[in-house]
Amino acid sequence: MNERTLRSMLSVFLMSGALAAAFAAPALAGDASAGQSVFKSVCSMCHSNQPGQNKIGPSLFGVVGRKTGSAEGYTYSPANQGANLTWDEATLDKYLIAPRTVIPGTKMTYGGMKDDEKRGNLIAYLATLK
């Protein structure tokens, strides 16, 4: 096996791995349109999708890429303020499965969204809020 063949095999392996990883993380490839209806039926009671409009929970406008505990005008739990996380898509995915596992003590009492597809769609929709 020469060096070129080895490089080709490695490339195929890595590309396959990357593709597999991409498909294994539906949160990063969701349907934003379907996610909007998930937002409406699950999140909208406590969260607004409008900038600066905090409800029982903070506004989710611009949440993707935001630091935890940083929505202006919202009173966070000390747990959320001290979490020092960035709400990227991977963190949101993990958080939405079990919020109180990722940030113990958060005010958000929601038990979690176990359905991968719904969660992925929701995160895709949240990413459009900017």
Binding site: C46, Q50, T75, G105, T109, Y110, G111, G112
Partner: protein, 463 residues
């Protein structure tokens, strides 16, 4: 003829008091927790209904439609409930005078068992329906349709960048649809001694249960930005055929035409605090009961009741470790009593006042203490509050202090068997300084107000 009006006036109010007391516990149901994926603490102070948090109010105003739960149980809209108690009176019933099947004092009882159907049918339609079994006393059929609050259509608009929730209700009890626990259907005390085992004052304002279960209300409401809540609608009485099948006699009387109902409130939320002020109005022309179940008549005249109420509340929720609530409502009622005076054409005009206030403290949504005060007063009123209702001086006055201590072991997000297992164990003491018009010998038969002081131990379960 006057005597006739006297009777039809007083009997319904006594029965009404019984109904109002028996139907209180409800609303917090595990089916809602399953549907939303939230623990009971998200929507209820003390991890148990019915006292609502801001989240609970939003869920109710949203028509019980919010989702978020996982699995097949999220679509299961059924819950069951039971309340059992032990009731001790300061002075028991005389020998032979106890309610049927009960002793003169210290009576254990199964107060009620219930099935709830509740939740969202779609993003825009939801509701809550309670079916109750109860066999203490005779004012009910054993089974009856209890608190019912249907939301045929609710939707949300964005107006000026803020949410405007608009909805409709179809319900069977004035204030059952109200989002605030200052009002009557879900007001403190949330569980009370069965009035067939522990006497309750005869006088009460109309909004406090007179039309509970035996009316049908159609209202429309709107809430803007989570702050301003407005509701308007009307109540009427279903036909006797319908009421008989629903098991709810119109003991107070039937509404002639439609009774207007108006409600307004403004709420502030800051940090982990919430407060509101509100007002309410309802007016009804009532054909009094003839004394027979499901029969009313305006032959001897029709009575007009108008209730004007103002309420306010404050909640500190913190991080759930320490919770404090304060809430109160004042109601002014005008009573134009024509029933029984048809021959003379005279309408007797009276007023009735009532204050209800309470404050509670909860530690970790598990241990709670509540102190309430309920005072009713008004002028001498022989038409409604005479000897037949147990008042020797024809006055409606009563004054009670109601203290309660509770333990709620479940209902938190980390509770075992959450959200299915829910239990509240409590002890409640009601002390009267006035009862049916007086403190001493209020009925002319030697009874004092304090004779009716009641100690109740209760277990309230819902699954």
């Amino acid at each position: 003829m006057r005597m006739s009006g006297y009777r039809v006036g007083i009997l319904p109010l006594s029965l009404v008091a019984a109904m109002a007391i028996a139907v209180k516990p409800a609303e917090a149901i595990p089916a809602f927790a399953q549907q939303t994926g939230q623990p009971c603490t998200a929507c209820h102070v003390g991890a148990y209904g019915p006292q609502l948090t801001p989240t609970g109010r939003a869920f109710k105003i949203g028509g019980y439609t919010q989702g978020g739960g996982d699995g097949w149980t999220a679509s299961m809209p059924l819950s069951v409930m039971a309340v059992t108690s032990l009731t001790h009176l300061n002075t028991g019933y005389p020998t032979g005078g106890a309610p049927q099947d009960f002793g003169t004092n210290n009576n254990p009882s199964i107060d009620q068992a219930n099935v709830f159907i509740g939740g969202g049918l779609s993003d825009h339609t939801g509701g809550l329906m309670q079916i109750t079994w109860q066999n203490i006393g005779t004012s009910y059929d054993n089974f009856h349709l209890d608190n019912t609050d249907l939301r045929p259509y609710v939707t949300t608009f964005s107006v000026g960048g803020k949410d405007l929730v608009v909805g409709t209700t179809l319900n069977n009890t004035p204030t059952v649809q109200d989002p605030y626990n200052t009002t009557f259907a879900w007001g403190y005390p949330y569980v009370s001694p069965n009035s067939n085992l522990a006497p309750a004052p005869a006088a009460n304002v109309m909004l406090a249960g007179a039309l509970a279960g035996n009316s049908i209300g159609y209202t429309a409401y709107a809430q803007y930005d989570g702050k301003l809540y407005l509701e308007a609608g009307a109540y009427s009485t279903p036909g006797r055929w319908t009421l008989a099948r629903l098991g709810n006699p119109d003991s107070f009387g039937s509404i002639s035409g439609a009774a207007p109902y108006l409600r307004g409130a403004y709420e502030w939320q800051w940090g982990t605090n919430a407060a509101h002020v509100g007002a309410m109005f309802m007016q009804a022309d009532i054909n009094p009961s003839t004394g027979l179940a499901y029969q009313t008549s305006s032959a001897t005249g029709r009575n007009r009741y108008a209730d004007y109420a103002a309420d306010a509340a404050y909640q500190f929720l913190g991080d759930g470790t320490h919770i404090v609530t304060v809430q109160g409502i004042y109601t002014y009622e005008t009573q134009n009593i024509a029933a029984g005076n048809a021959m003379s054409g005279v309408t007797s005009k009276y007023t009735l006042n009532q204050i209800r206030a309470n404050t509670s403290y909860w530690y970790k949504n598990t241990y709670g203490a509540t102190l309430g005060w309920q005072k009713t007063w008004g002028p001498v009123n022989p038409d409604l509050y005479g000897a037949a209702g147990g008042s020797a001086n024809n006055r409606p006055d009563s004054n009670a202090f109601i203290a309660e201590a509770d333990w709620v072991p479940f209902g938190k997000d980390d509770s075992r068997w959450a959200p299915f297992a829910n239990l509240k164990l409590g002890v409640q003491y009601t002390a009267y300084t006035q009862f049916n018009g007086g403190n001493k010998n209020y009925d002319g038969n030697g009874h004092n107000a304090s004779d009716n002081n009641t100690l109740m131990l209760f277990a309230w379960m819902i699954f």
